[in-house]
Symmetry: C2
Subunit: 429 residues, 2 copies
């Protein structure tokens, strides 16, 4: 853990190093992924079967290419009631938040008599990548699938690796609850390629979202433009701004809730009371001792944890904007005034009773958020990632007479005479 | 020009070939571009100066790295009055359409007592690539710069190559009108790299938009994630749905307005009257004879032009949705009913008096639109490309008691005990 104080002479440089440390994998898998994509494009299902046998060690023809709807429903029905209720509460709350996010169409006629507008439509089909093994989170499936269904996507396809043929019943239950239409037992870059280009069995989709390892992320990047994708995701991160009126162990728990994800995760505390910050650091050590995910959380906190002492929280917004963190918790008396000055953040958690983890599961807003300072220019996943806008224009003769000549002048100036002609021929010129 | 009829036995296959023909450059510049990006990252301005001397044949230290605001204003003031008025009308109308597009923040408390919302903010800085030479269109500068300024971008930077040191006064005039803050005389992949990573002179930006050649497009793709980018752009295209009650030369002019852009552009006509379609084809030949851009337009029409005869316009929406064209003109008696069934299109032009070219210049909606069937999943440029959303959540004790236990159950099920702990420690458990 790194301890910085904003009054130290070297603070600006040390903080700049924290900001610029992207903590992202430098593994270059571009060539491997390009070869896999080409292979799937060329050989289709044959490539999928071969790569699945190689990476996941099972035979798709024997274990089944798809997991059918009754299997997903059975997994849901078999859930322990508390867990089923929790999943249903999460799904209902996520759905409600995203329904309220649906964009409105526009249609109006302006002073020049020009009718203008825009219509939103869902994409026809979306593909959702769900990692296998440890990182197969039902909450993540809900956070990706529900916005797609709320947007109106008719065909929602999950691809997920099932290493050794084993499936994750929680993920199947979530797929049932979210209304997923197809579940394919393929993962890796080859699954993304299948979604983008289609194979004999898998029909292509228009958008691919969802988390994945370096191969999956690179496949999405290479296929961007063939399909739409969500933002490139990096290691998770939290910035906690907390004053001395908090309980240290609560703030410690919040920092560790991020650290337990992965050794590359980052937890940062900004505090205006060095004594309280010391207490939090101690509480982190104490909490770590009892934590089942201790090895990961300890590694993350040791390598990437930061405590920044500030003289006044007035300094916090500038630091927060430079970090542009995925999650920002503001546990102070007046969180609102700080939030108003934080322009770059994925999601903000206000007050002492809003631990970030409620946002991961049940609050309603999406937990797929920009990482690695990408909150400077990108947003969390939303219904808009599964929709697109078509603008429209309608002129009558009067409107064309009013604005057409200006278009003719500009087309002529740009050396595009056919553009000018398509207008002037309607002006009787 | 290819003539198809929907009643031909081989129509489905022939139409599928039209749909799958992306007409995009297959030149692989990925390695070249990666080397240029690495060079700019390493050597900064030194690399920019060297690459500009190589590609644009002028010395930045001699000709000046930047074009200053007075020079842009002088170019604007020197415009011929008709052209200046036309640019001002275009800018005012583009501004009005995009102002109406600004998203609203959300802030509400739901039945469980959870406060939820989202705040939109502009990115701090945006970079706009403006091609040099023939394709340096002032209208394109307005269409990129005005949405950025309407979004609230404080620093808007143009990069543009000036081959041989020559600048395009129309582009400078448009930069003045749109309120561009900086104009740098650098182009190519190196200019995009400078925008993304910054150099000694050029401060980095958060989003890069604007058209460019294969090198520029590949640089944007490689830097996606370091900065935000607009959609990858391909050759332009128009689909015209026209009945026999149109004047053939008007429809011909519309088809040619797309064809004159580039030999790779595509113009497609869907018509329910073979005789009228013949008349349009003849009118295209006639119009071509008088056209200053004839060589390009003729090449495009010969190589990529398509006329599709249909028995009934009822067939048109399915064809239009498969093509997912950048521009769709509907020149029929009831364009509205067809538009309602077209889900995938960049922009729709309704009726006999709305040639696509009015949308290129003065209608107001953005002319930067998805090409190459990307309207299936992406939208035209908008203020949203220069903004991002921060969600927020606030719970009080009652709200946490209401939804917290479900989050604890899910965190436990996902094997994330520190997530659960950050909530349970606030529930007094």
């Amino acid at each position: 853990m790194l301890r910085l104080s904003s009054t130290d002479p070297g603070f600006a440089e040390a903080f700049a190093r924290v900001v610029s440390d992207r903590r992202e994998s430098a593994v270059d898998v571009a060539a491997d992924v390009a070869a896999i994509i080409a292979d799937v494009r060329r050989r289709g299902d044959g490539a999928l079967a071969e790569l699945t046998a190689k990476f996941d060690r099972h035979d798709l023809d024997a274990s089944g290419w798809q997991i059918d709807a009754p299997a997903c429903k059975a997994a849901f029905d078999a859930l322990e009631p508390t867990l089923r209720d929790a999943l249903e509460l999460a799904a209902a709350r996520i759905r409600a938040y995203h329904v309220a996010q649906l964009p409105e169409d526009r249609d109006y006629t302006d002073a020049a008599g020009v009718r203008l507008g825009a219509t939103w439509n869902a994409v026809d089909a979306a593909g959702l990548y769900v990692p296998g093994g440890r990182a197969a989170y039902p909450s993540s499936l809900l956070m990706n699938a529900i916005p797609a269904k709320v947007a109106g996507v008719a065909r929602l396809v999950v691809v997920t690796p099932t290493p050794g043929g084993e499936v994750n019943p929680l993920v199947l239950a979530a797929a049932h609850l979210a209304g997923v239409d197809e579940v394919w037992r393929v993962g890796g870059a080859h699954a993304v390629a299948a979604l983008a280009y289609g194979t004999e069995r898998v029909a292509p989709v228009d958008v691919v979202t969802g988390p994945g390892n370096a191969w999956v992320a690179e496949a999405k990047r290479q296929l961007y433009g063939v399909v739409g994708i969500d933002m490139v995701a990096g290691p998770s991160e939290i910035l906690v701004i907390a004053d001395a009126r908090n309980e240290p162990r609560r703030i410690a728990a919040d920092l560790l809730s991020q650290a337990e994800h992965d050794p590359t995760s980052q937890s940062i505390l900004i505090c205006d009371d060095a004594g309280f910050a010391d207490a939090v650091a101690e509480a982190v050590e104490e909490e770590l001792r009892a934590l089942a995910t201790q090895p990961t959380a300890r590694e993350s906190w040791a390598a990437n944890g930061v405590i920044i002492d500030v003289a006044d929280f007035d300094e916090a917004p500038a630091l927060a904007n430079a970090l542009a963190a995925e999650h920002v918790e503001i546990a102070t008396d007046d969180p609102e005034s700080l939030m108003r000055r934080i322009r770059h953040a994925g999601s903000v958690f206000l007050g002492r009773l809003t631990p970030e983890a409620v946002g991961d599961y049940v609050a309603g807003p999406n937990h797929v958020l920009p990482t690695g300072r990408r909150a400077r220019f990108s947003s969390g996943l939303s219904v808009l990632d599964f929709m697109k806008r078509t603008s429209f224009i309608q002129l009558d003769q009067a409107a064309l007479e009013a604005i057409g000549p200006a278009a003719v002048a500009l087309a002529d100036a740009e050396g595009l005479p056919a553009h000018a002609r398509s207008i002037s021929v309607r002006l009787g010129q």
